[in-house]
Point group: C2
Chain length 355, copies 2
């Protein structure tokens, strides 16, 4: 056990922004919420998966919606406790721990705020090892764990509880409500017992985010390459470095979808995203796909660039990093591989591919 | 107390179809479901409002959606008990009585099926005295009674429970989920205590539906005017008799919206509907508007013609009938008057208007 204190949040937010592969929401907003909650309620105990009792009730808390909307429509700050209480009422027992559903931007920091507000400890890990756009895209789905009951709340005080026949249906229903309720909801779903954490989570990803964020910051301070530091921590591959020359983006169906085109003297790279970067290609040839991580960093500062922040003229470096091996199984690829998202290509693991 | 037996369903369905002002869903489907449930579980006790104890827990059960969809996509027959149980779990006490939320087509007969399945008695009344398209358009809203918690269930086994900050928000959220879940959901909402029934319900409307349906049937058998019989029971006004010459209809936003044009040698009438008929006009002059009842009957048989069944060539008579007086108050008109639906006209009470 260690404690998440205010001084760790900058690094965590930076690292989570990178691991979020462009999605998960603006880490800056999440950092403000987490900082405010820690200032008010004190540091948050962070437990490794091994330290959590088998009978613990571990509740993931996250924000669902389109990051393009979250940029302008800030959470009220009351939604996290509202969904937690709504979920507890349905499952009939109190949460003992909070955990991020994904490691990615805002959604890695919102659970810190929620844990502080609820006076609960946090678990060091998440259910994706990156960020994915849809609620069923979590390792617990691969275990047969249901993501319902799913409690949702908006900034106005509306709440709903979904109980669905499949994790995909829960996503569909929640997304429809989300769009109608302002394209930003807090969610508490995919409750895990402590005994399920090893299979249901990627371990120690909050610590990874912190390490990654720190490495980037220290490299910058030492005038060495922040991108190089990120690559070293992630065991990643540089896919492209260049300038953003075109962004096509629309907020539709509860997601921020679009493409971005990068150019350099060495050619061009196209990125396709649905909240998160899902496909990187050069001249029609795929160079990286979901579920591997495709992360966009500001080339000079190493700061993460979320999909909603992509804009003409930004000089960025795109890096790829291997996903958790469970995503590379046939079941994992069916859930979050390129064909699920409608891309007509097979997944090829990133490692071992010529960069 | 009396009993609803199978032999009453034909008349009730016919009368409810007329009172539903074109909406509420196809009464034939509702009749089949009610008949099946009565055959399996026995007759349903029907209590007048005065017979219900003050501490009773009275639960309205209905189907939400677009009648155009309900025509083709039949309920599974399991949704009513699913929403009842989901609602009971949230409110923490069992229902003691079932009641229709509206008197209108399928939604007057579904509660009979639900009561039979649940082994509960039914209350003779409804929360509108007609059918309206949106969930907040009930007399309990005028009393300040919340329509949430609202339990919803689809034919696949998905359920959700909405808890909203206003009755309008509950409608918005439920409608969005409804569209995504196939445009047809069962709903249990707007729970009333027995002591609230006098203000929250229009009394004895199931009996009115039965009387109306019987009068039409008997008139037909006696070769007198079925429409005349309906007018007598409803204290109604004949607005127009003619042939349907044009129907423009679209299923959008979870509703069946559109217009129909009727012609005769005496001129033309235009009907505008959103599930229910909301406005009747002749040459741009309004002749009847919501919240008064605008009912379309087959001229020869007196059978109700729902908005989704309107089609070229049908010979119909349009009749108007006064709504419950509570809808004519400023608060009632704000909730369900013509301006709420976007029509640029004031409400003029139907009675006393030249026909």
């Amino acid at each position: 056990m260690r404690e998440i204190t205010e001084d760790l949040l900058d690094d965590m937010a930076r690292g989570a922004g990178i691991l979020g592969t462009g999605g998960g929401g603006d880490p800056y907003v999440g950092k403000l919420l987490a900082r405010e909650a820690i200032r008010r309620h004190g540091p948050v105990p962070l437990y490794s998966i091994d330290e959590v009792p088998a009978d613990a009730t571990v509740v993931p808390i996250s924000t669902m919606g389109a990051p393009t909307v979250m940029l302008e429509k800030l959470p009220a700050g009351t939604e996290e406790l509202a969904v937690l209480r709504a979920l507890e009422a349905v499952i009939g027992r109190p949460a003992t721990h909070i955990v991020p559903i994904e490691i990615g931007g805002m959604n890695s920091l919102i659970p810190i705020a929620a844990a502080a507000q609820a006076g609960l400890p946090l678990v060091d890990g998440d259910a994706m090892g990156r960020a994915f756009p849809e609620a069923q895209m979590v390792l617990p789905t691969l275990m047969g764990v249901r993501n319902t009951p799913m409690a949702l709340a908006d900034d106005k005080g509306n709440t709903l509880v979904v109980d669905a026949v499949s994790n995909h249906w829960a996503e569909k229903i929640a997304r429809a409500a989300c769009v109608r309720m302002g394209c930003q909801l807090s969610s508490a779903d995919t409750v895990l017992r402590g005994s399920q954490l090893r299979d249901g989570l990627v371990p120690a990803t909050l610590t990874l985010a912190e390490d990654l964020g720190r490495a980037v910051r220290l490299a910058r301070a030492a005038h060495s390459s922040p991108v190089g530091a990120a690559l070293a921590v992630l065991d990643g591959t540089e896919l492209f470095a260049g300038k953003v020359v075109d962004v096509e983006r629309r907020t539709t169906g509860g997601f921020a979808r679009g493409t971005a085109r990068l150019e350099s003297s060495h050619g061009a790279l196209e990125l396709s995203f649905q909240n998160e970067h899902l496909l990187a290609s050069r001249g029609g040839r795929t160079v990286a796909t979901t579920p591997d991580l495709i992360c966009v960093l500001d080339t000079e500062s190493g700061e993460p660039v979320t999909t909603e922040a992509l804009r003409y003229g930004l000089r960025v470096t795109v890096i790829g990093a291997p996903c958790d091996p469970r995503w590379r199984t046939p079941e994992g690829l069916e859930l979050a591989g390129p064909r699920y998202f409608g891309y007509d290509c097979d997944y090829e693991p990133l490692a071992g591919r010529p960069s």
